[in-house]
């Protein structure tokens, strides 16, 4: 996907100025935490499950070479063709090759964040293939010519009214009302059914890969992923090397957290496990199945201090609970992954320099870490990225120098108290009557949005020391 993270502040500004979109975001920011919390309260074992799943994930990542090899062996035994791709470009080429080998023209696609990362759709379309997204949210943004704003609900930035207008414009189905959300879903079902039945290739992602038996897990509410996985004669699963879990039960344990965290449901409607192509005893299913395992820097992250980020299960809870995400929406982040997890992943998967604003779009409020089912210390990782920006001299020097001076001064108590004493006394004098400053030199960032309360009087240290002297 084309990246525009380098204009984050401008993107954010535009998003904040769009009142209708802001209302949609405000509504989602109220709603999504409610359903997640209700689901977790009902479940009652969140912390225990979170710790268990974290241990399993860390164990898997610690032994990824072993589990990846097991998975590959089992997957090949099941009849799959397993491919490896270092980069997004390699994955795209592998997929195109397979499609061209089969002279495929029509592709039915389930939701896959990996393919967003690699820009697969655009790549295939340039080769004149017709790619149809079948996940409703992905379908909506495809029709609207937009990119996903959220990793779980790609079209959540759109109101039902907007989607209604989109369908009326794009579907040639004559006069109809499309009054309710149910009507919209019905219409999508009708329009998309044909694509499943006529596609030559199905492309899906995987929520987990199981080392012990070579199965891949796919979860959807709609069933579209299963339609892509069962009907077309060729199936391609695009996934990443870090998705591997040791046992089938590890995948379903992780699901207990994933679904509740993502949508507030206890489980998805369809949870499917696919082993590979059809064999003699099968009457349906793809004749040929391919699994494309993408690295794209995951192995680098595995070797780094940001390794915990690989525990992410893509639930979107951190997005839903982040006040910055709520304020500016997913598109402002400028790439595939927004919100707190995106602010860690985007620098790691693309470049810190290009996405330098993202780790700074954070107040360390900690709400993300509180709800993260993978127990990833997101605020710490974001701060570490800010540290990396300083080390790599990406951070704006003005801020760094000012704060360094402050930090040095704070170690010289007498000097500190002398300077602050003078400065505060002056500010107090200037500000005492009104109580606050609407403008203040060196504080334009602050004062552009709020007044700066004036100091109450002399500093505490001045007053306290004076009082003491007076008493002696």
């Amino acid at each position: 996907m084309q990246q525009y993270s380098d204009t984050f502040l401008d993107n954010a500004s535009a998003a904040l100025a769009d009142k209708d979109k802001a209302d949609v975001r405000d509504a989602m920011a109220l709603f999504t935490p409610l359903v997640r919390n209700a689901a977790m309260d009902q479940f009652q074992h969140f912390e225990e499950l979170r710790q268990h799943v974290k241990q399993v994930r860390q164990h898997s990542l610690d032994n990824l070479g072993h589990y990846l090899e097991s998975y590959e062996q089992q997957a090949v035994k099941n009849g799959n063709q397993v491919h490896f791709a270092n980069t997004g470009d390699e994955l795209n080429s592998i997929v195109l090759d397979i499609c061209q080998q089969h002279s495929a023209r029509r592709i039915a696609k389930g939701k896959s964040m990996i393919t967003e990362e690699t820009g697969l759709n655009a790549f295939l379309e340039r080769a004149n293939l017709d790619v149809m997204e079948t996940d409703l949210g992905e379908y909506i943004i495809q029709e609207a010519g937009e990119t996903p704003s959220h990793i779980v609900g790609p079209a959540l930035h759109k109101s039902a009214a907007e989607i209604r207008q989109l369908f009326l414009d794009r579907h040639d189905l004559g006069e109809r009302e499309l009054e309710t959300t149910e009507d919209l879903v019905s219409e999508a079902r009708e329009v998309l059914r044909e694509h499943f039945l006529n596609a030559q290739v199905g492309i899906i992602g995987a929520n987990a890969l199981i080392a012990e038996n070579g199965y891949s897990m796919l979860v959807t509410n709609e069933g579209n992923g299963d339609l892509c996985a069962n009907l077309p004669p060729v199936l391609i699963i695009c996934t990443s090397v870090d998705r591997i879990l040791p046992r089938a039960e590890d995948a379903t344990a992780m699901l207990r957290l994933l679904v509740r965290s993502a949508t507030g449901q206890a489980q998805t409607c369809y949870t499917s496990f696919y082993s590979g192509p059809r064999r003699e005893q099968d009457i349906d299913g793809p004749m040929e199945t391919h699994i494309v395992l993408l690295d794209n820097r995951r192995s680098d992250i595995l070797a780094s201090d940001y390794r915990e980020m690989l525990q992410c299960i893509r639930c979107g809870a951190c997005l839903n609970h982040c006040p910055i995400f709520a304020s500016v929406g997913g598109h402002a982040y400028g790439w595939v992954y927004p919100g707190p997890m995106g602010s860690v992943l985007t620098p790691l998967l693309t470049s810190l320099e290009q996405s330098q604003a993202l780790p700074n779009a954070c107040t360390s409020c900690g709400r993300c870490a509180e709800v993260c089912p993978a127990d990833i210390p997101l605020p710490d990782l974001l701060r570490d990225l800010r540290h990396a920006e300083i080390e790599e001299k990406i951070a704006a020097p003005r801020w760094r120098q000012g704060l360094r001076i402050h930090a040095w001064l704070a170690r010289q108590p007498r000097l500190y108290q002398l300077f602050t004493g003078m400065g505060i006394a002056l500010l107090h004098l200037l500000g005492r009557k009104r109580g606050s400053f609407s403008k203040l030199p060196l504080a334009s960032g602050w004062t552009s949005q709020r007044d700066f309360p004036s100091p109450q009087g002399r500093t505490f240290m001045q007053q306290y020391k004076a009082e003491r002297k007076h008493r002696e």
Binding site: P323, G366, R383, E389, W408, Y416, W446
Partner: protein, 263 residues
């Protein structure tokens, strides 16, 4: 050296507490520090104010400048080591000492930081959970309706939620009028509010409007950073709500101007 660096007030029988006033209280609102001393002494503590205190180093730390803060962190740890207890009128500064100093410092300093962390408390936690402070006077302190902002660091790093509410009931016979989204960030975030002012502006606007919607006369909180942010926005928008630190309410120190108010 001792008499220069420290000062202990009102010797009593109770716990010996070092008060770290925090830079924001020191520079912008000393009454928070004086009220803290009063509250601790009323609860029977012997309060010492180390005179070389300046700042816990959060501002630079949060921008990721670990190297700049490590020497300061060592200095603060060394300064606070002799205490039985360390108390701060700020959840974020207490969190800095309790959680982030031990992460920042290595080896011997890591151990020393852990020991200081173990005896460091934010003030409402100290009063409510440790010394179980009781109202000093016979009658409760009268207050208009109060709403409360739960600052993020205090809430999530230190579990501060019930303690200020308990103290308001105990000291002032007041039940907090809870504001919507009380646990959502106000947009201060240290340097964030200056680096990303528009986003911060939206966040503080939401917080202010939620506070005003309760109809309460006072918005209280435990962290001056948040309170300065919200009060500044209230002044900018002309919203008439008094923004005060929890220590001011618990001492009935309500005559002086609220944060951002003129004389």
């Amino acid at each position: 050296m001792e008499s220069e660096a420290l000062h202990t007030t009102a010797p009593g029988e109770g716990p010996a507490v070092y008060l770290f006033v925090t830079c924001l209280a020191d520079l912008l609102r000393p009454s928070v520090a004086f009220n803290s001393i009063k509250l601790l002494e009323d609860a029977g503590c012997r309060v010492t104010v180390p005179l070389q205190q300046t700042c816990c180093g959060q501002p630079a730390y949060n921008t990721g400048d670990y190297e700049a803060i490590i020497p300061l962190a060592r200095q603060v740890v060394a300064m606070l080591e002799p205490a039985d207890y360390v108390v701060l009128p700020s959840g974020s500064c207490a969190g800095m000492i309790c959680h982030h100093y031990p992460t920042l410092l290595q080896d011997e300093w890591h151990e020393r930081a852990l020991r200081v962390a173990a005896k460091t408390f934010e003030i409402t936690t100290f009063l409510s959970d440790i010394v179980k402070a009781k109202r000093p006077g016979r009658t409760p302190i009268p207050l208009p309706a109060v709403t409360y902002h739960d600052s993020c660091a205090g809430l999530r790093e230190l579990g501060i939620k019930e303690q200020p509410r308990q103290l308001l009931r105990e000291f002032c016979d007041t039940q907090v009028s809870e504001l919507q989204q009380s646990e959502v960030c106000c947009g201060f975030g240290g340097t964030f509010c200056a680096k990303m002012p528009e986003i911060s502006g939206k966040m503080v606007q939401d917080k202010l409007h939620n506070a005003a919607a309760t109809g309460a006369g006072i918005l209280a909180g435990g962290d001056l950073g948040c309170l300065l942010n919200i009060a500044g926005r209230a002044r900018r928008e002309g919203v008439a709500i008094e923004v005060r630190h929890i220590t001011e309410l618990l001492c009935g120190d309500l005559d002086g101007p609220a944060i951002g108010e003129g004389e």
